[in-house]
Symmetry: none
Subunit: 210 residues, 4 copies
């Protein structure tokens, strides 16, 4: 199920009107762009409002503060990412591991392409938590890791649940890092790195007879 961090304090009110819906989307879209271009700290709420053609006062009706915009984006990403995995695992429950890894990495790559702000948002979110001395896990429940662990457990029932979560964590983190890196390079290197990522994860999973 999707992370429901969303309700607590992110939205001051449910956008009921079409206008509001559009504005919220516009704000999030613009914020994503600006966070990528200039970083979270260097992006002003006024800049977001201006570029989104939304009055600054309205922005604060939808989001109680700047952080809420970041969190809304993060949840957006988390949800999409989670659904991606669920779909993948349903389709590839029985597939050979090499095929699974191939499809999974490609899916992640597509996701990163579709959501260029993912990395910037995630990083900043973690920063905020470190600064606030909040354990990341308490607040941002990594659903994808849980989901992947579950998948692994089904493929090799001799692995216990804790071990699977460890493996899943390892995979998710490594893949995310390498994918992000691939986006900072030229197309050729990017494709090579993608292939390499697949090799890395496949070799790793074979160790566990998955």
């Amino acid at each position: 199920m999707a992370n429901d961090l969303q309700k607590p304090a992110k939205m001051r009110r449910q956008p009921k009107q079409v206008r509001s819906q559009e504005r919220v989307q516009s704000i999030l879209g613009v914020a994503e762009q600006l966070f990528i271009e200039s970083g979270y700290d260097q992006t002003t709420t006024r800049a977001i409002a201006t570029r989104a053609e939304v009055p600054i006062g309205s922005l604060y009706q939808f989001f109680p503060d700047k952080e809420a915009i970041l969190k809304a984006l993060a949840n957006h990403y988390f949800e999409q990412e989670y659904h991606l995995f669920v779909k993948l695992h349903t389709e590839l429950a029985e597939a050979p591991i090499a095929v699974y890894v191939d499809r999974m990495v490609d899916a992640f790559d597509q996701f990163a392409t579709d959501h260029p702000g993912y990395r910037a948002v995630l990083e900043q979110l973690i920063d905020l938590m470190v600064v606030a001395d909040i354990n990341t896990l308490d607040t941002y429940d990594p659903q994808i890791i849980k989901e992947l662990a579950h998948f692994l457990e089904q493929r090799n029932s001799s692995l216990d649940s804790a071990k699977c979560e460890l493996i899943a964590t390892t995979i998710v983190k490594a893949v995310n890092e390498l994918l992000w890196l691939s986006f900072t390079r030229d197309q050729i290197f990017r494709e090579q790195l993608l292939a390499e990522t697949k090799t890395l994860i496949t070799a790793y999973l074979q160790t566990y007879q998955i």
Copy 2:
């Protein structure tokens, strides 16, 4: 040889006197702490100066601006990291791959323990470059990757130089990410993750008969 990004404009002058040396060290040490605690943007130059017990004017005598402090730290890290690798490769030129990976990951772990600001500094450095639209590679030449690639080439001469660099990149990025993650968790998980990282890299390198 060590990365010499250092000279360009990091130090406004070479600290010639002991007092200055101490002050520079103090500033860097304090900055590292504060960047970890609160992040680069949230750390004020005044806070650094105050905690380092150095007048703000003196801080600006050593570093032309806030960014220079970040870069000085980064170079510090890069140099240490590079030397660590060189030493490792000398010692383990002939070691079995499992042993090499074991020692390498442990060394990185030790490095991360000794330099807790490494991650925060590196991330911010990349952010600055993205914002300034500078290619990371043009400015920060990743010496460790070059060094590791060289090592791999020597262990399996059938791999060409480009391939080795690709593999090295993959390893360095994955290991750094997983190690950093391990520091945000409790001791038990931390150790498990360390072991898992070794498994991951070992499996990967075996693919290449290294």
Copy 3:
């Protein structure tokens, strides 16, 4: 028509409300005083805001930076000065030259009395342009000179347009300088200098049968 240097970037927004109008006026008035008392560079934006009883943030809402305050004052002066001349020339189109000069110098004198900051502002404006390596004429179009040249051409049609502009420039600069000087002296000297200025300009214009 009045100089419209004004719009380009002087005002961040058009003050629509009475409160804002008053604040802008207050800021300009206070700035004028302080520029006279201490010079432009020595006048801090905070001092202006404080004396004008306007929060510093509001000051920056009306004027993007310190320079904009200077430019707003300058345009204020330029416009008034220009209107003064137009009025004068309409009234004295047929007057004997001695009468014209008498009235003109008096009018300038009155203007200088009413706008004691004129000199300080103009000087600083020119300084800024010199430093920025901007040709004064490109930016600050001296409408008064044009207007006076036009008047002269009408009084003696045998003088060509270029010559008239040259004469006008000579007059405007000389009169301004002598008037400004007169303000730094005691009342007696001041009046003598005023009379002398009239003599100077009258003698000059008689040379050209104007």
Copy 4:
């Protein structure tokens, strides 16, 4: 005799050694350039010292503060200007007025060319005095005006001393202003303005049968 404001507090010590002499000259020369380029306030004492290749500490041995550099330059100018007039008046005691004006304006023009910082320095000096609420005349004794007044008195003994001083003031100020203006324009306009200045002053002096 030259203005001797100089001794009171301008020089901390008489440069007795060649090295010191050179340094003082270098400082003054550099200061003149920088004051022209960037204005007095924007010129830092460190910039002067650096460009003059003199240690900042040494600069403060020669000049007690920044203002002293300005005053030293001013006195330099005043002296030169005064000598120029004395020489001129000796040579042209009997010359027809048109010739005298011609030579005088040319001489001033040459002076301005040789001392491009004259205007900037004089203006700043006056500013400082206004700010310090010091009457310009108390401190900067305008020797050239006195000298010119004396010359005029000799040419038309029916004019009393006060009147001559008034006329001299008028001339000196008007000529200086117009010459300075001429330097901000292209060569063609510059020469026309020079000619016009001569016309202006000649017409004026003829009024007094000088």
